[in-house]
Amino acid sequence: MSVFVARDYSLIGPESQKAVAAGLASAKWYAPLIPRAELKELMQRKDGPAIRDTLIWFAALFLFGGLGVYFWGSWAAVPFFIVYGAIYGGSSDSRWHECGHRTAFKTKWMNDALYEIACFMVMREPEVWRWSHTRHHTDTIIVGRDPEILQPRPPDVGSLLLNIFALKGGPIFFRKLFLHAGGRLDPEEQTYIPESERPKVYTKARIYLAIYAAVILACVGFRSILPAMLIGLPSFYGAWLVLFFGATQHLGLAEDVLDHRLNSRTVYMNPIFRFLYWSMNFHVEHHIFPLIPYHALPALHEKIKSQCPPPYPSTITAYREIIPTVIRQLREPTYYVRRELPPNASPGPARAAPAVAA
């Protein structure tokens, strides 16, 4: 009878060395063949869609935040703050993501400006997460290499539940903020943030702390937590939306494969979710071609879907797979969902993960 040995998901442990030795680090990933002219068309940048979406986004923030302030002191404020929190602390995740790739807008400064704002809202230090996400794209769900694996196997359900309100991630964020403001990185961050970029990490951590200090001072001055309800706390009470969308990306799928069709999900979502999530529900497509802007992902999906496993028809369908998988992994950590490629699809360079599959 084999004994399961839990894997080390840190970036500085033995799994990291094993991944390098196995050729899983910085490896060549599967990509479908698309004529260069079509790919070039899909990669074209536009300002229009993101300016429209950003204006609506800020208008919604001001509207629901304003109504929350107006009704402050009564229960009527609650629904407005729920929506405000979801926009501020939840949908800022997709804005951070798209602008981090600098694909949302054609104009570079617009990407960079929204990136900085959204990073603060979703409690992600801009420089740290730029480099963390770079590694996530190089080594997607490669154990010991990817710093953005949502859950290990077996899953830590306690942390998942706490992160509905960022109660696990939030304290880690603040601990690191103080570390960085003091001019230091933790050992894992040192593996993916180059020396030349580290001063920016320290400077921005100090700016973040100054903003939080100003919010606390405002709360003391006004003898009210209302300022923090508008800036700071929404990152916690709106974090459920980050988890709600983010769990659909990779949770429960294969580790250590070099094929995004096998470790990522594309999920059809309704227009409101698509707006809040900026079409990151086309996650297989995004990972295969990260240069393609969010507004062109549906068109990319149409071009490559014959080469991919069937998309999930709805968010509910995805969760009907994710939740039982997470529960099963608690008692059977080697279990994962095996995505089936269409019969005529190229198998790509995927490695079969040595574990039990559905």
């Binding site: 910085s26 260069r36 002219a37 070039k40 990669m43 940048r45 790739h101 600098r102 694909t103 054609k106 420089e127 730029r130 480099w131 770079t134 794209h137 190089t138 180059p194 030349s196 970029e197 071609f289 990260p290 240069l291």
Partner: protein, 109 residues
Amino acid sequence: MSETWIDAGPAKRVGAEDVAPFEHGGRQYALYRTADDRYFATDGLCTHEQVELADGFVDGTIIECPMHNGRFDFTTGEAKGAPACVNLATFPVKVEGGRIYLKIDDWSP
């Protein structure tokens, strides 16, 4: 230093405002053509993680790496922001008789 111009093929193999790969002597290069028909050449691999730039996206005089969106000005090789932090080598290019020639013994880091 001797002048060695390498024939990199027909100029039309590089589309307008686009990039194409070229390999010579075991080294990869990227050839560029701007919208106004100027030609340039750089190292073929991104200085960040050695990804082929010929699969990337050309926007004006910027080449964007296909893997991590690192950006370089291909007319100078200058890295334009994280994760591209190290400049690209550039190479002189000329077009004669409808063909691109690359001078690879005279490069700038």
